[in-house]
Subunit: 107 residues, 2 copies
DNA sequence: TAACTTACTTACTTTATAGTAGCTACTTTA
DNA sequence: TAAAGTAGCTACTATAAAGTAAGTAAGTTA
C-alpha cells in the first residue's frame, strides 16, 4: 500500500540527530529567548555541562539549525542563535510543548 | 516577562521521557500501522533488539501512551497499540515528519 | 600583582545504554 | 521425535554518553 510508511527513514534520521538529551531543549530555549551567548545559554539549560553544551551546539551547527557568531575580543564573545532551518525545526516542537503543559502542568 | 518560558519544565519532562533512541520511532510505527503484535512491531522497527523493544514498550505503557493486550494462548499473542494519549502524542510528530521529508528526501 | 572574565579543550572517570545469547512455556507441525 | 513458533526475562558484555576537573588565552579590574 503506497500510503503506508511515507518515507519514514528520513524521520528516523532526523530523530536520531535531535533525540539526544538536551538537544531539543536547547532549540526550544534559543527559540524562546532569541540568540544567546554561550554562558547565558548554559545557565538557561540548567544542569548541562559546558562540554556537552559545546558538543550539542557543534552538532546543531553542523545540521545547519544553529549559527555561531564568534567575536575574538578579550574575553571572547560567542553568540548562538537559530537559523531559518532552526526556526522551522523548533516550530515543530510547539505542539509537543502544548501537549506537555496539558499533561504535566496541574490543571 | 510573563510570556517567556511558558512552563518549559513540563516540556523538559516530556522530552526526557520520549527522547531516547527508538522511542518516538515506535510511536510513529504504531500510528501508521495501527496495533501490532510484538514480533511484527520488532520487524517494523528494523534493528532493535527484543530487549530494548520490551523496555521501550514498558516505558510507553507506563506513560499511558501505549496499551498492551495480552492473550494467554499458546503461543501467546500480545498486541500493542496507541492509547488516546498516544495518538495525541504521535500526532505532534507529524510536523516533524513533514520537515524530515522536506529536508532529507531528495527534491 | 593577583584575580577575574569568557568560551572553550582535554584527559579521565563514571554511569547509562545497548547488544548478545541462552532460557522459559506449551502446542502444533514436519 | 525433533523442531518451530511467540513473547518475553535474565545475565553478561560491550559501547557510548555524560560528568568532572583542570588548563588555556590575554586583557581588564581591584
Amino acid at each position: 500500500m503506497s500510503t503506508k510508511k511515507p518515507k519514514s527513514s528520513s524521520l528516523e534520521k532526523l530523530l536520531n540527530q535531535i533525540s539526544g538529551r538536551w538537544t531539543m531543549y536547547i532549540l526550544w530555549i534559543l527559540d524562546n529567548n532569541g540568540s544567546l551567548r554561550f554562558g547565558e545559554l548554559g545557565r538557561e539549560v540548567a544542569g548541562i555541562s559546558t562540554k556537552v553544551l559545546t558538543e550539542r551546539l557543534r552538532k546543531l551547527e553542523a545540521m545547519g539549525v544553529v549559527y555561531r557568531d564568534y567575536k575574538a575580543t578579550i574575553p571572547p564573545e560567542v553568540t548562538y542563535g537559530l537559523t531559518e532551518r532552526g526556526q522551522e525545526l523548533s516550530r515543530t516542537l510547539d505542539p509537543l510543548c502544548e501537549l506537555a503543559s496539558r499533561w504535566y502542568d496541574s490543571p
